[in-house]
Symmetry: C2
Subunit: 418 residues, 2 copies
């Protein structure tokens, strides 16, 4: 069976808002074993919606629409569906009372044109919309299915996942599903990941393995196809275990987990604190750490020391180091990490100094050269890295590597120069 998506909305067609729905729907369909063939976007124009809907219904088994279910003049989906399928619109009292209750709850009189949202094509199943006034519609017509959903992502997403996909799977007897899991690493090259798990990568048929480079991270994606969710989870767990045997603690997290959240969790578990001294990263490390709710428990302070005066004054970096080795050097970054640690009393001092560019590079110290150090009571580690990209990307990669240095130290993993 084949599925098409029809996205309705002039603002989407004209690129005035970014269509985040279509990609999300496509991913959920793939996971549910539902094949997607085509995706079309048209504006709020009855003739063009009708032509696109007729075409889609003419070649697909399932058509999903988003948008055009609102109360205004240019919300045309209900009327077009009724016309194309030859199903007259009827007032659904249950839908009307749901809409009326929503307005009553907000103590606003219901505008007359919201009645329109209670008009339902004959024979349609109404899909409840707990997050808005527009209900969804599910129609069966000669072996095909048509589902109409609102365009607002917060309304569409639960409706698709909980009401539309189960109906499609049942209607077409689909039992397989696809589940993905992403294992994230940082500070290791794509070729090293490939070297470590290349045999699995090439041999595995189900789950399959994909390796993808993101800014400052290498992701290993495991994708498993099967029928039984418990069996799929077991297969993914088995493969994850095998990969973890090879990559171990180089994997910092799974799926949506962020490096700054993982570092925060490790610090909290150890009742440790961190203070940060940033030059080239300019506050990005502090900003990422403090994006995590509860970070005040372990983030003691940060300083952004752009001037040499600030490095000497706040951190006590000796003038001699800056004069002899330069402000972008391993001795300087060690002194920064140690200075912020001692000054703050935090368990760890983390420091960066480098050349974020695009100007300021020299042949010896080019744009992208970044020194990172971590200091603790009785020791420190410092490394030199060369990052590529524009100013913001260099800042990001340096912040990423600094957080990874702290994470690895907390777990006793070797800190490399990769």
């Amino acid at each position: 069976m084949g599925t098409e998506i029809l996205t309705i909305g002039t603002e989407l067609l004209l690129g005035q808002i970014v269509d985040t729905n279509a990609g999300w729907i496509a991913q959920r369909l793939a996971e549910a074993g539902i094949d997607l063939f085509c995706k079309t976007t048209v504006g709020d124009n009855a003739g063009r919606i009708e032509a696109a809907l007729r075409q889609a219904l003419g070649r697909a088994d399932v058509v999903l629409t988003t948008g055009g279910l609102g109360p205004t003049e240019d919300d045309l989906t209900r009327d077009v569906v009724a016309a194309v399928l030859g199903r007259p619109l009827q007032l659904d009292p249950a839908v009307l009372s749901h809409i009326e209750r929503r307005f009553a709850h907000r103590k606003i009189p219901m505008p007359e044109n919201n009645r329109k949202q209670a008009m339902v094509p004959a024979g349609a199943e109404v899909l409840h919309n707990p997050n808005g006034t527009a209900p969804g519609l599910f129609l069966r017509d000669g072996g095909r299915c048509l589902a109409c959903m609102p365009g607002v992502p917060a309304e569409m997403k639960p409706m698709l996942a909980e009401q539309v996909i189960p109906r499609i799977r049942e209607a077409f007897g689909i039992r397989s599903r696809i589940v993905s899991r992403v294992l994230k690493t940082c500070g290791i090259s794509e070729s090293k990941v490939d070297h470590a798990i290349g045999d699995y990568f090439r041999e595995m048929r189900n789950p399959t393995i994909g390796v993808l480079a993101h800014a400052g991270e290498i992701h290993v994606r495991l994708t498993c196809k099967g029928e039984d969710p418990a069996e799929i989870t077991r297969m993914l767990d088995d493969l994850e275990e095998k990969i973890r045997e090879r990559l171990g603690s180089l994997i910092f997290g799974r799926d949506d987990e962020k490096l700054e959240a993982l570092v925060g969790r490790l610090l909290r578990e150890r009742r440790a604190t961190v203070a940060v001294a940033e030059s080239c990263t300019g506050g990005l490390i502090a900003n990422r750490l403090t994006d995590i709710s509860g970070s005040s428990e372990y983030f003691e302070r940060g300083v952004v020391v752009y001037s040499n005066a600030a490095k000497e004054q706040i951190l006590g970096v000796p003038k001699a180091i800056i004069q002899d080795a330069g402000v972008v050097s391993l001795p300087a970054v060690r002194a920064m990490a140690d200075g912020i640690r001692r000054g703050s009393g935090a368990t760890f001092g983390l420091a960066t100094t480098g050349i974020a560019g695009p100007t300021g590079g020299t042949p010896e110290k080019p744009v992208g050269l970044v020194c990172i150090a971590l200091a603790w009571d009785g020791g420190d580690v410092a490394r030199e890295y060369r990052f590529h990209g524009g100013r913001e990307l260099i800042k990001y990669r340096a912040a990423q590597m600094a957080l990874e240095m702290l994470r690895r130290h907390l777990l006793g993993v070797a800190i490399t120069e990769s």
Copy 2:
């Protein structure tokens, strides 16, 4: 005349990469007075590309395709176009030599399958691609136009703007164009903007005015339709001048200008420097200021003082203030701004303290309460704000307002609490 876009690529259909091209193309077409009716995405499947292309050519005057022009097996656009239009593929020696030169320049032998990219349907104009190996194609067929462009944004964008749009405008005798200009304000509500310029907003027919709220900014968009670019610029300049008479220096920038860049420019012009003391914004102000190349000229230092100890130690905030007024209070934020200014020797000290949430709020000091202060030699200003949204949005809005406070002070504009 009507235009359709056909986007080709399985990774786009399945939502594995975000389609940034379609919205960009739609905007460029609108500016060029070219009407867009429909946008379709299909995977790398010859049958489905052919069906979608036939349909588009059957109802539109202009069809634009992106993707499927690469050298691999699943790059099918050339073959499908040749089949649908009945134009045999022919080797174009000039294209082949362009591709060969690109490989020679990179000192890599050209793989045999790159020859495929030099195959051109009979009668097609070749669109030069200075940024890649795949040339574009422009075909005229019975009054219709078909343009095939690469999917890589850096290759597609200049090709569309410089080669495709001029050909379409010429083919259909389009002389009008639409040009937009955005004037950006910060720290003023949408209703105040509407109050100030509502009469223009309602009366103007060309240019038209739209008011849009973004996170921490209100944008006024002027959209002008006309034929003569110089005349359009003059009309936009006239309206911009009228709006500036009302809003004056509340407008901080135009189009893509960022608040942190504007603030940096003003500081540089005045040979002034700034030092930042951040609590709830957690380094975001420093990070935004240092995203701008050359910021080391005016950004002296930043501190992220999450703990009370750090506020006392680094900034000299009196313990009594923290005990009496609390750490989120106007007296505390004034002391922070003054402390960072005196400690750093910078011209300005800018400080934030507040409750970013989602936890930590109380009935008196709820989540979203943020105090911001600016201190200079001989004076200061401090204000209390209430921001809405999640943790990251509250951080962003607070950073935005702090930058705006500095900007307004530099320009002598009143600093309000809105």
